[in-house]
Symmetry: C2
Subunit: 341 residues, 2 copies
């Protein structure tokens, strides 16, 4: 009884390639007392996984060489020697990039509710880490106020698209996306309903930002860092808030980075820039998930999943996040037989 696993075999510089990971076949783990055996159904492919591959300080230790690539996902319980899990439960947690995983004392999973009328991919997108990140980042760190002019980068992505829609629903006066290329920008406005979207690949983002937000930006939700962050800092409104969620433009950088030049605008405009890690809000996820599920069921939160087939495709799926080749939440389907009842 095999377990296909993807191990980290070499620390990447830049995008990951064939030498970064290796697909191996190992014996399926056996379920000890207090544990449960989980058949992995779907992996959540998130930019943060790339940061764990570096040997650099982060909010979690780096993935060790020879270790299964870390990542969250869903699966179904096929054997349980724990009171927490029943056979047939669909669960969410740190599955890693593999076919089988044990729920243990040190690696616990949450049992997904059934009867919501939402499929597994939707749940992993909107109710998953990216959805709750949007919710707490916008409301708790950014402290969205009615009438705010809001800018969101990575606006066509799983987190950014949800940020913009919550902001609109909660009374932002204008929601402006930043995304890569005209196709994504059109999607952000037409599909996700933002008021405008700026293509960061086109010239002079700073000037165009000033045109579309002449009174300045009250709240910026930053998923990308780098030059886009610098441009928005230059347009910060009085008492503007910058939520640092991620810095996807930086994760594969190999050369010297340019650095931020406009942080003094935080003084001039009495601004606040604050980072967060969604794990700190773990005890409050349900609050976000109930609101997000309600919005999906009411049809007021649009979402899109980009499902890639097969465990072996996980490394390529990760690179899609950085090339911009994905649309919406990127997921890898490991076992198509698992469905959420």
């Amino acid at each position: 009884m095999d377990n296909q696993q993807i191990l980290l075999t070499k620390r990447p510089t830049g995008l990951i390639d064939a030498s970064t990971t290796t697909l191996v076949s190992t014996p399926r783990p056996t379920c000890g007392e207090g544990e449960a055996l989980i058949k992995v159904a779907m992996l959540s492919i998130d930019p943060t996984i790339r940061t764990w591959m570096n040997d650099a300080p982060g909010y979690l230790p780096p993935i060790a060489i020879g270790e299964v690539v870390r990542g969250s996902g869903t699966g179904v319980v096929v054997e349980s020697r724990s009171e927490r899990y029943q056979v047939g439960d669909v669960v969410f947690g740190m599955t890693g990039w593999q076919e089988w995983v044990l729920a243990t004392k040190d690696n616990s999973f949450s049992v997904l509710p059934t009867g919501m009328g939402l499929d597994l991919a939707t749940v992993m997108n909107v109710l998953g880490v990216t959805g709750v990140t949007a919710y707490f980042g916008l409301l708790e760190i950014g402290r969205l106020k009615e009438g705010d002019v809001v800018v969101v980068s990575g606006a066509a992505g799983a987190t950014g698209s949800v940020v913009g829609q919550i902001a609109k629903a909660r009374g932002a006066s204008k929601v402006i996306g930043v995304a890569g290329g005209p196709e994504k920008c059109a999607e952000v406005v037409e599909y996700y309903g933002f008021d405008a979207c700026l293509d960061y690949r086109a010239d002079n983002l700073a000037r165009r930002l000033h045109e579309v937000a002449p009174k300045g930006v009250d709240l910026y939700f930053d998923n990308v860092g780098g030059d886009v962050l610098d441009a928005v800092l230059g347009s910060l409104a009085m008492h503007g808030r910058v939520v640092l969620c991620g810095a996807i433009s930086q994760y594969n950088e190999t050369g010297e980075r340019g650095g931020l030049r406009n942080t003094s605008m935080l003084i001039v405009r009495r601004g606040r820039m604050e980072g967060f890690i969604i794990l700190d809000f773990a005890s409050r996820f349900l609050e976000a998930q109930i609101e997000l599920a309600t919005m999906v069921q009411a049809g007021t939160l649009r979402h899109r999943e980009h499902v890639v087939e097969g465990l072996a495709s996980a490394p390529d799926a990760l690179n899609l996040l950085f090339s911009g080749g994905n649309h919406g939440k990127t997921l890898v389907r490991v076992d198509e037989s698992v469905q959420l009842g």
Copy 2:
């Protein structure tokens, strides 16, 4: 009856020079109904004056070409047609770089209390803009907590030296200064009582910071910006706070600046970086001034004034702030006959 004035005649690049300002003699202003005539006694020389000379967006409009250089100072009321001021009152406000100024509806002054047993230079230092900036920046923006490891740049300066001493008095576990050169570092430790002081001109500030604050920096009060700010961001403790007070290292920059590279530490460490302008706290100055005056009278707040003689020396005095040639609060004495009773 003349009024010597220093006008801005050319916008500087880098440090100001002889072409930046011109000393002129104009008629002394006459006191209209509701106004008071003030003989200027002493000017407060602050880094922010340099930023007002640029034609760039700031928290106040740039000083216009041909206008008297803007700046705060003290003086004595010699004629009054206003109920707010009595002849003989020593007052503080926006005097500008000149010998005589009118208190008007649009340019009001506060009357300094007498009987504190403090001389004018001390009052302009500790109870002036730099002192209250230290107080509100540390406590309101930085939200100092007992046990915090605190780092302060510009530690030998008028604001930085007060920040460190308030932090010690309020229970910081360690207060580390950053200053330019061994002489200033010695002053910060021996005279102002900081636990340690790092010379930013010596090699590898980041490594030395890590040695002296191995568990990280809980609160950083930044007066300088640039590379020092970047180095401290790299040592930020979990939930660390960065107070952006000024960026003196940047005010005279003419070339391409390097920019901040470590802002992603705000994500990893869930940090907050926030700027402020002391004018926003104007209605609460008295609260700070009472505490600071009490500390000075009790001998628990040490301070030093660097007094330069004569209005014509004001431009050179401003440059001292950037060359590091000053010790403590820099003041220009315009009229030595004025004393605080």
